[in-house]
C-alpha cells in the first residue's frame, strides 16, 4: 500500500518541479550579484545529471531512494538525508509541544462543554474554539510576540535555543489543533451521552462522573484519536507558517525554501519524509484503536 503511494507522490512532485520554469543552477548565485558563469553551470549540470532526460532522472532517484539514498543537494553540497535530519529535531519538538497543548487543553475542554451543553461554559469554550480555528496563525503569532516579547519582555520574540524559545511558537501552533480537537471531543461526547446505555447507567444510580469518564469517554475516544492522528501528522511534518514567523528551523521551512530554489533532491526528500511520518502516525492511530475498542482487531 505504501509503495504505490510513494511512487505516485514523488512522481507528481517530480513532474511539477520540472514543469515550473527556472533552472536549478540559478540557486547557486545571488540574483543581486549577477549570473552564473555558463561553463561552471554546464559542469554542474553534467556532474549532477541535470542534462539527462527527465524520465531517467526520475528512475535514478527512485532506484537510489529504494536503497535508502535520497540523493545529494548541490546547493548545500550535502546529502539530502543529512539536511532533513538536521532539521527534524526542531520540527519534532515544536510538533510535540503543540500536540501536548492541544490534547491537555482541548480534550478536557471538549468534555466540559459536552457535559454542560448549552451552558455559559459551553458557549464561551466553543466561541473560543471558533476563534482558534479561524484566527490566522501568522497574525496570532505576531500578536503573542508583540505582547510577550516586545511589551512584557518575558519571552524571546523569535529564534531557537533554550526551552523559553518554544513557548510562543507551540502556543501559536497548538491553538488551532486544540480548537479542532475540543470541538471534536464535544460532539463525540454529545453523541455518546445520548445513547441508551448511558441512560441505563444513570438510571441504575451511577455517579455522574463515572458515567461521563468511564462509560461515555471511552466510546468517544475513537473519533477523537482520529482527529488527533490527523493533527499529529500535520504538526510533525513541519508547520511552515509558524516556523517562518518564529524563525524556527524546521522541515516545513526547508521544504518551502527548496521549492523556491528548485532544489529538487531536497524537495523529494521532504515529500518522502512527510509520507513516512503520516504512515507512522496512522500506524500508531490504528494500534490505539485496537486498544480503545476491543472490537477492533489488528491484522486480518
Amino acid at each position: 500500500m505504501l509503495l504505490p503511494l510513494v511512487v505516485g507522490i514523488t512522481l507528481v512532485t517530480f513532474v511539477l518541479m520540472n514543469v515550473i520554469p527556472g533552472d536549478p543552477t540559478i540557486s547557486l548565485m545571488d540574483p543581486k550579484r549577477g549570473q552564473l558563469d555558463p561553463q561552471a553551470a554546464e559542469r554542474i549540470r553534467q556532474r549532477w545529471g541535470l542534462n539527462d532526460p527527465a524520465y531517467l532522472q526520475y528512475l535514478k532517484f527512485l532506484f537510489n531512494a529504494v536503497r535508502g539514498d535520497l540523493g545529494f543537494s548541490f546547493r548545500f553540497n550535502q546529502p539530502v538525508t543529512r539536511i532533513i535530519l538536521e532539521r527534524f529535531p526542531a520540527t519534532l519538538e515544536l510538533g510535540l509541544a503543540a500536540l501536548v497543548i492541544a490534547t491537555a487543553v482541548g480534550v478536557p475542554g471538549g468534555i466540559a462543554a459536552a457535559v454542560r451543553q448549552g451552558g455559559w461554559l459551553d458557549a464561551s469554550l466553543m466561541g473560543f474554539c471558533v476563534a482558534g480555528v479561524s484566527m490566522p496563525v501568522f497574525w496570532l503569532g505576531l500578536l503573542l510576540m508583540y505582547l510577550f516579547a516586545v511589551k512584557l519582555g518575558v519571552l524571546p520574540a523569535g529564534g531557537y535555543g533554550s526551552p523559553s524559545f518554544l513557548v510562543l511558537p507551540s502556543l501559536t501552533l497548538g491553538l488551532s489543533s486544540m480548537a479542532m480537537l475540543s470541538r471534536m471531543t464535544r460532539s463525540a461526547m454529545l453523541e455518546v451521552l445520548r445513547q441508551d446505555y448511558i441512560r441505563t447507567a444513570r438510571s441504575k444510580g451511577l455517579a455522574e462522573r463515572v458515567v461521563v469518564y468511564k462509560h461515555a469517554l471511552r466510546n468517544a475516544l475513537v473519533p477523537m484519536v482520529t482527529v488527533m492522528g490527523v493533527q499529529a501528522g500535520w504538526l510533525l511534518t513541519g508547520a511552515v507558517i509558524t516556523e517562518n514567523v518564529f524563525g524556527w528551523p524546521g522541515v516545513g521551512r526547508l521544504l518551502v525554501d527548496c521549492i523556491g530554489q528548485r532544489d529538487l533532491p531536497v524537495v523529494q526528500g521532504c515529500v518522502l519524509f512527510t509520507v513516512g511520518m503520516f504512515a507512522l502516525v496512522n500506524l500508531v492511530v490504528d494500534v490505539l484503536y485496537a486498544y480503545i475498542d476491543p472490537r477492533i482487531r489488528l491484522g486480518r
Partner: protein, 541 residues
C-alpha cells in the same frame, strides 16, 4: 451531581497517559540539543541574516551574501578592498606590485599569519587555494574569477596539472602572470572565493569543510544550528590582534515582522531594513538617529532592446528618459528609500561624475523627440519585469500614466527572474526592468555596454557604440587610477546620452542599530556586508 475533574477512570487515564507520553517525547526531543550555559562575561553581538541559511561555508562554493558576511570574518584573502575609502588594503599580502604591461603581479606575504589550526600561512597555501578554486572537480560556480591567470584555461580543461601562471618564488613570495591584462585583477583577489585555505583541513574534512570551515580570519567558526543560528568566536591569535567583540552570533530570520519584534525586544543589535519598514524607523525619534544609509552600487533601470524598433532609435530612448518623473516615483512609490539616478554610476562608485545631471522630467521635450523620431502618434511596447517592489511590476505600473501622457502604451509582462534573464540573454524582448551590477570598479560597469558583451555577458540591450568600445578597451590596459576615472567618465557621458536604459534610481540601503553598536560602515556593495571584526558593543545597559 457535578462531574469532578479527577475521577480515576479509564478514559481519563488514557488521555492522561497519551499526554504524558507526548510530554516525555517532547522532553527527550528538547534534550537532543545541548543547552549552552550563557556566559555573561563575553561581549556578544547578534546580527540577523534576512535571506535564509548560508547553506555551505566553503568559500569557493557560495556567492550569496548570507555566506559571504560570515566567510569574510572566518577567511582572509591576499588583499582587502576598503569600500568606504575606495582603495585596496593589505591582508595576507603586505606588498604587491604590477609590471608596467599589467601582466605580472608580485606579492609579498605577511610573515607570522596563522590558520586557526595554528599553522603558519606560506605562499604554497595561496597557490593551493587558487588551484582549488579553478579545479573543475571542485564544481565551484565562481571559478571564472581567476580565469584571466595564464594557464588557468588549460588547468580547468585538465590539460595541465598546475596553473602555469602562479609561481611560488619563496616561502613568503609569489608571482601571478595573466594571460591578458585585467584592470580588475587585484579587486578579484579580494573576493571571498579567493580566500587562502589550509590544505590539511580541507583534506581531513572533505565535504564537511563547508560545514566546519577553518580559515585564518579574525573569527573562528564555532557552531551552526542549520536554518537558525551561526556562532563565531574571536581568534585571539590573529595577526592584527583580537577583534573587538568576542562572540558574533548570526540568527536567521526571514520574516520582517519577526525581525522588527526581535529588534524592539533587544534580541538583535543591528539589521538591514526593507522598503516597507523604512518610514517606520525614519519617522520614529527613538531610531531616526540610529540609521546608517548608503547609495548601493546598483542602478535600477529599464533596458531597451537597441536592435529592435522602436528602440533602435536613440531619440525614442531619450524621450522615455525625459517622459518620467523619477524623483516623484522615488519619493512616493519608494517612500524616499532610493536616490534618483543622474546617470549610470551611483555616487559611491569610483569614477562617479558629480557634474553629470542626467535627464530632467520634461514631457514636452519627450513629445518633441518622439515626433522627430517619427512616432508622433506614439506606440505600444512590452516591459518584462519581476514582481520586485523597487524594480519590478509596481514600478512599471507607476510609469504607465507618465508614458501614456506622451502617447506611449506600456504592457507589463510579469516573469520570474530566471525567465526574464533568459529572455534578456537571447534578445527575445523589447524592454525589461532590472538592477545591476554591484561591482566596485567602473570597468565592470562600462563593460556591460561593450559590443563584445552582447547577451549573457551583460549587454542584453545589444547596445553598440564604437566610441564606447574604444574607451572600454583603453580602460582595460590602463593601470593609472586618475586616467581610469577620466576614461570611465567619458564613457558614462556617451552611454547616458545614448540612453540604452531608462535610468531610474540607486538603491538606498539602510541599517538600523541599537545605540550601543559602534563601527557600522555605509557599505555600498551590500549594506549587510559589515566588517564584523570592526564592530563593537559600547555602553550596553
Amino acid at each position: 451531581m457535578r462531574a469532578g475533574w479527577t475521577g480515576r477512570r479509564q478514559g481519563v487515564w488514557l488521555v492522561a497517559l497519551l499526554a504524558a507520553v507526548l510530554g516525555v517525547a517532547l522532553v527527550a526531543a528538547s534534550c537532543t540539543r545541548s543547552a549552552a550555559p550563557p556566559q555573561p562575561k563575553e561581549t556578544r553581538l547578534t546580527r540577523v541574516d534576512l535571506y535564509g541559511d548560508p547553506e555551505n561555508l566553503d568559500p569557493i562554493l557560495k556567492d550569496k551574501i548570507t555566506a559571504l558576511v560570515l566567510n569574510s570574518a572566518i577567511f582572509e584573502q591576499l588583499l582587502n578592498y576598503d569600500v568606504v575609502e575606495k582603495k585596496l588594503t593589505a591582508e595576507l599580502a603586505t606588498k604587491w606590485s604590477a609590471s608596467p604591461d599589467g601582466l605580472t603581479y608580485t606579492f609579498e606575504l605577511r610573515q607570522g599569519a596563522k590558520f586557526h589550526n595554528g599553522r603558519e600561512i606560506k605562499a604554497d597555501d595561496v597557490k593551493y587555494s587558487f588551484e582549488r578554486l579553478l579545479n573543475p572537480d571542485n564544481m565551484s560556480p565562481l571559478s571564472s574569477t581567476l580565469a584571466s591567470i595564464k594557464g588557468a584555461k588549460e588547468f580547468t580543461e585538465k590539460k595541465a596539472t598546475e596553473v602555469a601562471g602562479i609561481k611560488v618564488t619563496g616561502p613568503y613570495s609569489l608571482t601571478i602572470e595573466l594571460a591578458e591584462p585585467d584592470p580588475t585583477f587585484l579587486l578579484r583577489l579580494t573576493n571571498i572565493c579567493c580566500s587562502v585555505v589550509p590544505k590539511e583541513e580541507v583534506q581531513r574534512l572533505g565535504a564537511d569543510f563547508g560545514m566546519k570551515p577553518v580559515g585564518s580570519g579574525p573569527y573562528k567558526f564555532d557552531s551552526w544550528v542549520k536554518d537558525s543560528k551561526v556562532v563565531l568566536k574571536a581568534n585571539k591569535e590573529h595577526w592584527a590582534g583580537p577583534p573587538k567583540t568576542e562572540v558574533i552570533e548570526t540568527v536567521i530570520v526571514k520574516e520582517a515582522a519577526t525581525r522588527d519584534a526581535m529588534f524592539a525586544a533587544g534580541q538583535i543589535d543591528y539589521m538591514l531594513i526593507g522598503d516597507p519598514q523604512y518610514l517606520k524607523y525614519k519617522n520614529d525619534p527613538k531610531w531616526a538617529n540610529n540609521l546608517v544609509e548608503v547609495p548601493e552600487l546598483y542602478t535600477r533601470h529599464i533596458a531597451f532592446n537597441c536592435q529592435k524598433p522602436p528602440f533602435d532609435n536613440k531619440l525614442v530612448r531619450q524621450a522615455i528618459n525625459y517622459a518620467i518623473d523619477r524623483k516623484a516615483l522615488v519619493d512616493t512609490l519608494l517612500q524616499g528609500k532610493a536616490y534618483p539616478a543622474t546617470g549610470l554610476f551611483p555616487p559611491t562608485l569610483m569614477g562617479y561624475d558629480p557634474e553629470l545631471k542626467g535627464y530632467s522630467y520634461d514631457p514636452e521635450k519627450a513629445k518633441a523627440l518622439l515626433k522627430e523620431a517619427g512616432y508622433a502618434k506614439g506606440f505600444e511596447f512590452e516591459i518584462v519585469c519581476t514582481s520586485h517592489p523597487a524594480w519590478g511590476l509596481p514600478v512599471v505600473e507607476a510609469i504607465q500614466p507618465y508614458l501614456e501622457a506622451v502617447g506611449i502604451k506600456v504592457k507589463p509582462v510579469l516573469a520570474e527572474w530566471g525567465v526574464m534573464i533568459d529572455r534578456g540573454n537571447s534578445g527575445d524582448f523589447q524592454a525589461y526592468m532590472y538592477s545591476v551590477c554591484g561591482a566596485v570598479h567602473p570597468y565592470d560597469w562600462v563593460l556591460l555596454f561593450h559590443s563584445k558583451s552582447f547577451g549573457g555577458a551583460g549587454n542584453r540591450m545589444r547596445y553598440s557604440n564604437p566610441e564606447v568600445d574604444r574607451l572600454v578597451d583603453q580602460m582595460k590596459v590602463t593601470t593609472d587610477e586618475s586616467e581610469m576615472v577620466r576614461l570611465a567618465r567619458e564613457a558614462e557621458k556617451i552611454i547616458v546620452d545614448d540612453a540604452p536604459w531608462w535610468f531610474f534610481n540607486y538603491n538606498k540601503a539602510v541599517i538600523v542599530h541599537q545605540p550601543w553598536v559602534k563601527g557600522l560602515i555605509p557599505n555600498p556593495v551590500d549594506m549587510d556586508y559589515q566588517p564584523l571584526d570592526k564592530l563593537s558593543i559600547e555602553g550596553k545597559p
